[in-house]
Amino acid sequence: MQFRRAHHLTSLLLAALLAIGASAASRADVLDGVLEVSSAYVKPEQGVFQLFARITYPVNDDIRVALKDGLMLNFDLDVVVSRERRFWMDETVAEYTLKRELLYHAVSDRYVARDVDSPNIDQRSFATLEEALEALGTVDAWPFLLSPQLSANRQYRVSLRAGVRRGRLSDTMRVLLFWTDGWHRESEWFSWSLQR
């Protein structure tokens, strides 16, 4: 009797996990397409490390339609600089996120891309989604690290990860919609050793 009850409970848990997995799998469809960090490098310039990167974001009709209906998308580029250690886990030296957003401006019929963290909110508009995504996926000379943050004779590693998610959601709502929201996707980490 006890065994049967335990078996029943295990079945329920398994079913719940499968349902969650199926939900997580189905939500990726709306952001279908290539999402990757295509290339990236760092160029030191007068004690400041500047990041140059090219990110490919997915493009499909679902995104296009949703943007035209009023959806705003956030494009986050996570940068992690870590000191490599041989016998222990790497130490994170610096961690930044470049935040950009994209929306469709219905009155002007143009796609507006913004750098959220720039002082004057650098904003540009594009006639097509492809142009807008190309602009969003281009990072040129973004200063993200100062040389005093690094120690001599140490090896450092830079990792990049791009993510797309729905914007204009409160934290609570984001938590509530976590399992049902398909507008959230992240790329694999793109890493390389920092050359000085």
Partner: protein, 748 residues
């Protein structure tokens, strides 16, 4: 121990704190849901706090429920009542809560859905179209103006373009007018803010449109509710031909139009955002409502359990108290729960147990008194010289005292609970006694009194005075045999009393004989001797012979009578002992030698125990004992061929006293059966010459010394008399005390 009032105050404080915390959390949650922007950062924490509160009350409730289920299964008193009360309270609380919850949820969902009706979206779409139309009209006007300017430039030499560009900017109200060459270089530009290093560049889409020979215009949204209209037109070099030069002009949008258009844009975007979040909002409100419901419901159930336990606790106390009383614990006092009816009930219970305790104490005291009386009675019965036995109607022995065992010669105290007849064994005296009792009771005689004479035994005849009386009892008291009634039989051994009476009578007779007979004997003897002296010499012949024989006979008989009277006198003489310490064995040898000297064919032997040294006694009287015993033995074997008398001594210990035992045995005919029980009585003798006072005097002297004497026949033939004397005067005193304590102990 924490006082009950303080504990109650603490409990109320905890309940109040819980209500305040949960109420505050729920209020914060409601506020955060209503104004999510303000509480955006705190909303998750508020939600988490509510969930923690929910988990806390769930854990507490689960613990309570597990305890309740365990108590229910274990059959703990009051658990069923608690479970029933909780079920009733819970049902009364849960049903309305769930109904309200379901209605609220439905109402909430419908309300949220109504926010996103089709009419609203359509209105927003129409407003958007209107804004776009207004912007489109404006853009077309500016595009045409740019086109006209490009046409004018085509007709004028390039040297005039800078001037024309300035004129065009001023005339059209443009913010910026720039003429680009074929390679994208700036040929002419007019702008208030444009410097040589900050010249505008043509965007890719502008170049693409110009390359296609098309007119270009677009609306550029700026931040802070502002717009720009970008226009571009190719500069024609001939009909339908262009060398790739073009004009780009930027125009401002009137602020009113910009603001309205931006408002429409914002509303449109916001509506979509809300539409996308509709399910989330529903979930948020639903979750909030569910949290409120669960918190309220679980708190209510917990409160129901708490209240039920508090309500049932006095009942449990009462049950426990009742069980304790059932087990005989009347000291149970229950705590007073309150001053209501339950408190009155508990008070009554406490009062009842108090009364029961007092009653039991009274009963215990009575029982102790009865027990004490019984013990006292037992002691009295044990010390009583009279035998007392109690038997049931079935003749089963219920109780007996020590004296009864001693008198009947049976261990009755060990036979309690057994039938009287089963204890007889080979004890003839006891068998006779039981026979008499059984016979009388069988005849229906319940109250009687009788004197029973038993056959003479070694120690003499036994005479018992026996009385039987019925005992009252309850015939229904089957569990208590002692209470079923029966008979009590009281008996006393009066043998010694009778013997004493006989001894006293004989003493009196002896004293009177000595006094009445001895006095005239001397004159008779003197007279006879005087007659003999005076007249024998004067007579002759036959007269002289007659006188001589007669006077001789008189003198002889008077002498014999004197001896008899002296013996009687000795017997009746009052005890006046002179106790000294002397060697007994030497005395025995001395007396035996005296009798050996006399001419007799009887052999007298002495067997002495060397352990006996000195004894403390009246030497003269012991000598008389030995003399009488040896004379008695010699006379018994006088006519027996090979007559043989043996006087032996032995040291014996009986209890705490030491005895020197003198035994005289002979090989004569022994004591006849008729006199065996009375050999120590005066004037009982089987010999023709005996006075019958020898053994009676022996017995008297022995009793004076605190000793004992027995007479019986040896199995191999012949008589045997055994005299035991205390070795020391202390032993004699001790024996005297013991005999006073057990006066019925058999004596010689």
């Amino acid at each position: 121990m924490v006082p009950a009032a303080l504990r109650r105050l603490g409990t109320l404080g905890l309940i109040g704190l819980w209500v305040l915390v949960t109420g505050g959390l729920l209020l914060l949650l409601a506020l955060s849901v209503q104004n999510s922007m303000q509480f955006s950062r705190l909303q998750a924490w508020i939600l988490l706090a509510n969930v923690i509160a929910l988990v806390a009350i769930s854990v507490l409730l689960a613990r309570k429920l597990i305890e309740l289920v365990r108590a229910f299964r274990a059959g703990v008193p009051g658990s069923r009542l608690t479970a029933r009360t909780v079920a009733i309270f819970g049902s009364l609380v849960i049903a309305p809560l769930i109904i309200v919850y379901l209605f609220s949820l439905e109402f909430l969902n419908q309300g949220i859905d109504s926010w996103f009706k089709v009419e609203i979206k359509q209105g927003l779409t129409d407003a958007l179209d209107l804004s776009k139309s207004a912007m489109d009209v404006r853009m077309r006007e500016y595009a045409r103006s740019t086109q006209l300017f490009a046409n004018r430039l085509a007709d004028s030499p390039p040297s005039n373009w800078t001037e024309a560009t300035d004129a065009q900017r001023v005339e059209s109200g443009a913010l910026e007018v720039v003429v680009f060459g074929t390679l994208g270089q700036v040929l002419a530009a007019s702008s208030a803010g444009v410097t040589a290093t900050n010249l505008p560049r043509a965007s890719a889409e502008v170049i693409a449109a110009i390359s296609a020979g098309s007119l270009y215009w677009s609306l550029e949204p700026l931040s802070e509710d502002d717009y720009l209209i970008n226009t571009a037109a190719p500069i024609a070099t001939g009909p339908g031909a262009s060398e790739g030069r073009f004009v780009v002009a930027q125009y401002p949008v009137p602020p009113q139009l910009s603001r309205l258009s931006e408002a429409v844009q914002h509303s449109y975007s916001q509506h979509y955002n809300l539409t996308q979040q509709r399910e989330g909002v529903k979930n948020l409100f639903g979750m909030t409502l569910t949290l409120v419901l669960l918190l309220a419901m679980l708190t209510a159930i917990y409160g129901a359990i708490y209240s039920a336990e508090k309500l049932v606790r006095p009942v449990q106390d009462l049950i426990a108290g009742t069980r304790a009383v059932g087990k005989g614990d009347f000291g149970t006092r229950l705590p007073l729960p309150s001053r209501d009816e339950m408190g009155f009930l508990v008070h009554s219970f406490n009062d009842m147990t108090k009364r029961l305790r007092r009653a039991r104490e009274e009963t215990t005291r009575s029982q102790l008194a009865v027990e004490r009386e019984r013990e006292r009675l037992s002691i009295i019965l044990a010390r009583l010289s009279t035998g007392v036995i109690a038997i049931g109607h079935d003749l089963v022995l219920r109780s007996a005292n020590q004296a009864a065992s001693n008198i009947l010669g049976a261990n009755l105290e060990q036979g309690v609970g057994q039938p009287l007849s089963a204890l007889a064994g080979e004890n003839a005296r006891y068998a006779r006694f039981v026979g008499e009792v059984t016979e009388r009771l069988a005849r229906g005689e319940e109250e009687w009194r009788e004197q029973m004479d038993f056959e003479p035994e070694a120690a003499g005849a036994r005479v018992l005075v026996c009385a039987c009386t019925p005992l009252p009892g309850d015939e229904h008291a089957e569990d208590e045999p002692a209470a079923q009634g029966g008979y009590v039989i009281v008996f006393d051994d009066i043998s010694a009393l009778l013997q004493a009476q006989r001894d006293a009578a004989w003493g009196e007779v002896a004293r009177r004989l000595a006094h009445e007979i001895k006095n005239p004997l001397t004159p008779i003897q003197l007279s006879a001797e005087r007659m003999r002296r005076r007249y024998l010499a004067q007579m002759t012949g036959e007269d002289a012979q007659i006188l001589d024989r007669a006077t001789y006979t008189i003198v002889q008989q008077v002498e014999a009578m004197k001896a008899m009277v002296n013996a009687f006198s000795e017997y009746a003489r009052a005890p006046d002992m002179k106790v000294t310490k002397f060697p007994l064995n030497a005395l025995v040898t001395e007396v035996a030698d005296l009798h050996r000297v006399q001419e007799s064919a009887v052999r007298i032997d002495v067997e002495l125990d060397t352990h006996i040294e000195n004894v403390e006694a009246d030497r003269g009287r012991v000598r008389q004992i030995l003399n009488n015993l040896i004379v008695n033995g010699v006379e018994a074997v006088e006519n027996v061929p090979g007559g043989h008398v043996v006087a032996s001594t032995r040291l014996e210990s009986v209890g705490s006293a030491e005895y020197a035992t003198i035994t005289l045995t002979d090989n004569g005919p022994g004591f006849s059966r008729e006199v065996l029980g009375r050999v120590f009585d005066p004037y009982v003798t089987s010999k023709p010459k005996g006075t019958g006072l020898g053994l009676a005097i022996v017995k008297k002297i022995v009793e004076e010394h605190g000793g004992r004497v027995e007479a019986d026949n040896r199995p191999e033939g012949g008589g045997r008399v055994r005299v035991s004397l205390p070795v020391t005067d202390g032993s004699r005193q001790l024996v005297a005390r013991e005999r006073r304590a057990e006066p019925r102990k058999e004596r010689a």
